[in-house]
């Protein structure tokens, strides 16, 4: 392929990448255009730097390596220029690299056009054909392996402070009427169960445990009423569901409003 045609092919691939990014969104076929662009850039590296053309396998490997390092090279230049590394900026950078390399290659060819090497196409086929077969065989094996049944992974039930309570960073002031604390209950890999939900203030239970249904592989929000602690001092508040629990600290209404929990409406 002549250098102008190679430049054209690189331009088409890079244009497709930019067009895909701007309109269709990124998708699988973009990989083919990227491979095409990198292959063309690698070959342009080779033509810009090396005369006469090296043997086919050397040229192919060097081109593939050079094409691949075009990506970090462009990313590094974008970083140094303070441009965020995104699909469009990368495409633009690759286009500039292509134009630069193409220009140098064309300038060097003014002293004599590169002689077409028929061995190159055959070597490319010798690389591409087993590559595609390996991709099919290896891809099928991997696809099958991933989709085969695997041993069940250990399950768990989690309890977390939810909603505004997830932001509790210091002792909460609880009003006289108590405070509804949202918690998040999640279960994965375990059968449905009924777990006791309990609240303890300091060492004492705030009331009898309430049964809560925990469905298999589910996440739900539960509001837990925490009564006001008996005094103004610092009290440990534990909300437990089965073996899992959350713990925060609270003061009664008589205390100075130290560190209200963010978004804690009732307090």
């Amino acid at each position: 392929m002549t250098t102008p045609r190679l430049l054209g092919a690189a331009g088409v691939c890079l244009g497709a990448l930019a067009f895909g990014e701007l309109t269709l969104g990124r998708s699988g076929p973009m990989g083919i255009f990227l491979a095409g662009a990198l292959f063309a850039i690698g070959e342009l590296w080779s033509r810009a730097l090396i005369r006469p053309a090296p043997p086919a396998l050397l040229r192919l490997g060097l081109g593939a390596t050079a094409g691949l390092i075009g990506l970090p090279l462009v990313a590094l230049v974008l970083h140094l220029a303070g441009v965020p590394i995104r699909a469009l900026s990368l495409t633009a950078g690759l286009a500039v690299l292509t134009a630069g390399l193409g220009g140098v290659a064309l300038l060097r060819e003014r002293s004599g056009a590169a002689v077409a090497d028929p061995r190159f196409a055959r070597t490319l086929a010798a690389v591409a054909i087993p590559g595609v077969v390996a991709l099919v065989v290896g891809g099928a094996a991997t696809f099958a392996y991933v989709r085969m049944p695997h041993p069940p992974e250990p399950g768990f039930t989690s309890v977390a402070l939810g909603g505004w309570a997830a932001g509790i960073a210091r002792p909460v002031t609880i009003p006289a009427g108590g405070l509804d604390v949202p918690i998040r209950v999640s279960s994965a890999g375990r059968p449905p169960a009924v777990e006791p939900l309990a609240v303890r203030i300091g060492d004492r239970p705030a009331g009898p445990p309430q049964p809560v249904e925990v469905a298999a592989d589910s996440t739900r929000a539960v509001r837990v009423h925490v009564p006001a602690p008996p005094g103004a001092g610092l009290h440990r508040v534990e909300i437990s569901l089965g073996a899992a629990s959350t713990v925060f600290y609270a003061r009664g209404r008589g205390a100075a409003p130290h560190g209200r929990a963010c978004g804690a409406g009732p307090c």
Partner: protein, 618 residues
């Protein structure tokens, strides 16, 4: 390199016919072998998952493909294009064990770090962010920038983009060694044998295929050497520039490979120096070596100054442990395959492989001495390859020390290059002289070396999937830890400073997007966990955590029930007893439930997340 050799063909017979038949036979054999091998490898991984012995199936799968491929690559009658095709097929197939090991996401320790680094580029759009898991990798963005760019341009996930890059790099390693060998020996068959010989090194199947910077840096190094040899032979400005560009890419990608490249360049340049008629080549070699060394020095001084401090302790400790081995009758050493579940024949092969390599090197050196190439350049290149190959044997001593083992394994990817380049012509000569005897013997040798070196390079938990295990880098990822890290990121954001153990730190620091610290001598966060219930945590540590804005503490209660598989809770220098029993009591780990300055915001049984409230602590 001429890929279509011009041979006289018998009159009346199409010159393409034998080649086509040969190619069809080869394609049919290797496709069938590839399908069978892939099926056996899948069976091996499934056996491991379900608690059955995977080793037999694994090696059946590997050898059922690799041995016919070796035969096709090494036989005299194989055409040049077909040989290239066989090498590509071989390279692709040898990526399959790693692909099947973890097809959907990172599992190896370093993979978590590199995955995070690449994802960070994708999310934030810039390079050189610090990495909490492996602290220097942010300064070597070659791989991460490549993967992030592929992901950004194609829409593929970071992991899939990484696989595409790594498979391409793996193929480029094999083709690169073949081209490098052909530069020296001027024979495609020898080149193919050298490429196969290089793939027998212990890092080839699992270590240099992982999502790690060396996996891209090794092919870059090999192609730099190709350009170097071309530049020395041709002295064209283009090759010099190509060598410099490739060397720069290696430097930007991985520190050790860059240093290894400089060492190899020095050896090649030195081997040419003083040879009659090779002075210009030597000058070119030295000029390129100095330029590449300048690139490495510049990068390490101005861009990655932390690297020396990162690498230095490993080398220093390894040397100290070697001294311990010599002077203290084995203190500081390690026992190979201690508690390994690898079968006896893998272990025996692991011990046999270096011995066989030594025998091959002695024979190759003897042959080199007897049959000197006429060209002083080729003679020098061969001597350089011999010197590089000989480095494999002293490095093998390092494997006996805990700190040196890691470095020894990594060095084999370099030194095996020398072995492959030197031994390949010997193999071809043996095949030419007595193919009937040498052929089967060499195939058997390949099998022993492949099995032994792989067993020596990676332990079974890296090679095969299995049930979750506490304290295993590769099997510590459980749905529970992932859910906890996802919850923290979703509710509290990313890049939070957290205190964690090594294994939770891997997950929270990668998919969780946080900034974990797992402790060090100067920042002993493990003292938080070690403090007995009722005993105050050292105030200096609390002050340190507070002033550095650490916000969260992750506690894995399995530390009180189980012993870490790799014998580390936090980091290698931790002041924690390791006597085969858990080093923590449940009280030490649940004491945070009763400390007023730790708010338990998440609990899933084994994993608890606490938020620090240092105002209360003070």
């Amino acid at each position: 390199m001429t890929l279509t050799a011009v041979r006289p063909s018998p009159a009346g017979i199409s010159p393409k016919a034998p080649g086509t038949t040969q190619a069809m036979a080869c394609a049919a054999t290797l496709t069938a072998a590839g399908v069978a091998g892939a099926a056996a490898l899948v069976t091996a991984d499934r056996s491991a998952e379900w608690g059955r012995d995977p080793f037999g199936w694994f090696w059946l799968g590997m050898l059922v493909f690799t041995l016919p491929a070796v035969w096709w690559a090494g036989r005299r009658g194989t055409g040049p294009l077909l040989r290239v095709a066989v090498l590509v097929a071989y390279a692709c197939f040898t990526y399959l064990p790693k692909l099947l090991r973890n097809p959907t996401g990172p599992r190896y320790h370093d993979e978590f770090a590199h995955w995070r680094q690449s994802r960070g580029i994708l999310l934030d759009g810039h390079l050189f962010d610090p990495n909490p898991i492996v602290r220097v990798i942010g300064d070597f963005p070659g791989l991460h920038a490549t993967v992030a760019a592929v992901s950004a341009l194609t829409g593929a996930s970071v992991w899939r983009a990484a696989l595409l890059v790594l498979i391409a790099a793996h193929v480029l390693v094999v083709l690169g060694v073949a081209v490098l060998a052909e530069e020296i020996w001027r024979d495609r068959r020898t080149a193919a044998v050298a490429a196969i010989a290089y793939t027998l090194n212990s890092s080839f199947l699992f270590f240099d295929t992982q999502f790690g910077y060396e996996s891209l840096a090794i092919p870059l190094m090999i192609w730099t050497l190709v350009a170097l040899l071309r530049a020395m032979a041709d002295r064209g400005a283009g090759w010099i520039l190509a060598a410099l560009v490739l060397a720069a890419a290696t430097v930007v990608t991985h520190h050790l490979t860059a240093l290894g490249l400089i060492a190899i360049m020095i050896v090649f340049s030195a081997a040419i120096t003083g040879r009659r008629g090779a002075a210009p080549a030597a000058w070119t070699g030295w000029a390129l070596t100095v330029a590449a060394a300048g690139l490495v020095t510049g990068w390490l001084c101005w861009v990655a100054p932390k690297t020396a401090g990162y690498l230095d302790p490993y080398l220093g400790k390894a040397l100290g442990q070697i001294a311990g081995l010599v002077h203290d009758s084995g203190s500081g050493g390690r026992t190979l395959f201690q508690q390994s579940v690898a079968p006896w024949w893998e272990q025996k092969a692991a011990f046999a492989a270096p011995v066989l390599a030594l025998a091959a090197m002695i024979a190759a050196a003897w042959r080199l001495r007897r049959r000197r190439a006429a060209d002083p350049l080729r003679r020098g290149f061969a001597a350089a390859a011999l010197a590089i190959g000989l480095c494999y044997f002293p490095a093998a001593v390092l494997i006996l020390t805990p700190s040196g083992a890691e470095g020894a394994r990594r060095s084999w990817a370099f030194s095996y290059l020398g072995i492959a380049l030197v031994v390949a012509p010997l193999v071809v000569a043996l095949l030419d002289r007595a193919a009937r005897v040498a052929g089967p013997a060499l195939v058997a040798l390949v099998a022993v070396m492949l099995v032994g070196n792989t067993a020596a390079g990676m332990n079974p938990s890296y090679r095969f999937p299995g049930p979750p295990a506490y304290g295993s880098d590769t099997r510590s990822l459980t749905p529970e830890v992932v859910a906890a890290s996802n919850w923290l990121r979703a509710t509290q954001g990313r890049d939070l400073r957290i205190v964690a153990d090594r294994y939770a730190g891997l997950i929270f620091g990668s998919s969780g997007g946080q900034f974990p610290v797992t402790g060090s001598v100067t920042f002993p966060t493990y003292e938080l966990y070690l403090a007995p219930p009722g005993t105050p945590v050292p105030p200096a540590l609390i002050a340190q955590l507070s002033s550095w804005n650490f916000e969260y503490l992750i506690v894995d209660r399995r530390m009180a029930r189980e012993v870490p598989e790799i014998g580390i809770y936090f980091e290698t220098n931790e002041p924690i007893r390791h006597n085969g029993r858990p080093a923590f009591t449940l009280g030490q780990l649940t004491k945070f439930d009763h400390l007023p300055w730790t708010i338990k915001i998440y609990d899933s049984g084994d994993i608890a997340i606490y938020r620090f409230d240092f105002e209360v602590a003070s």
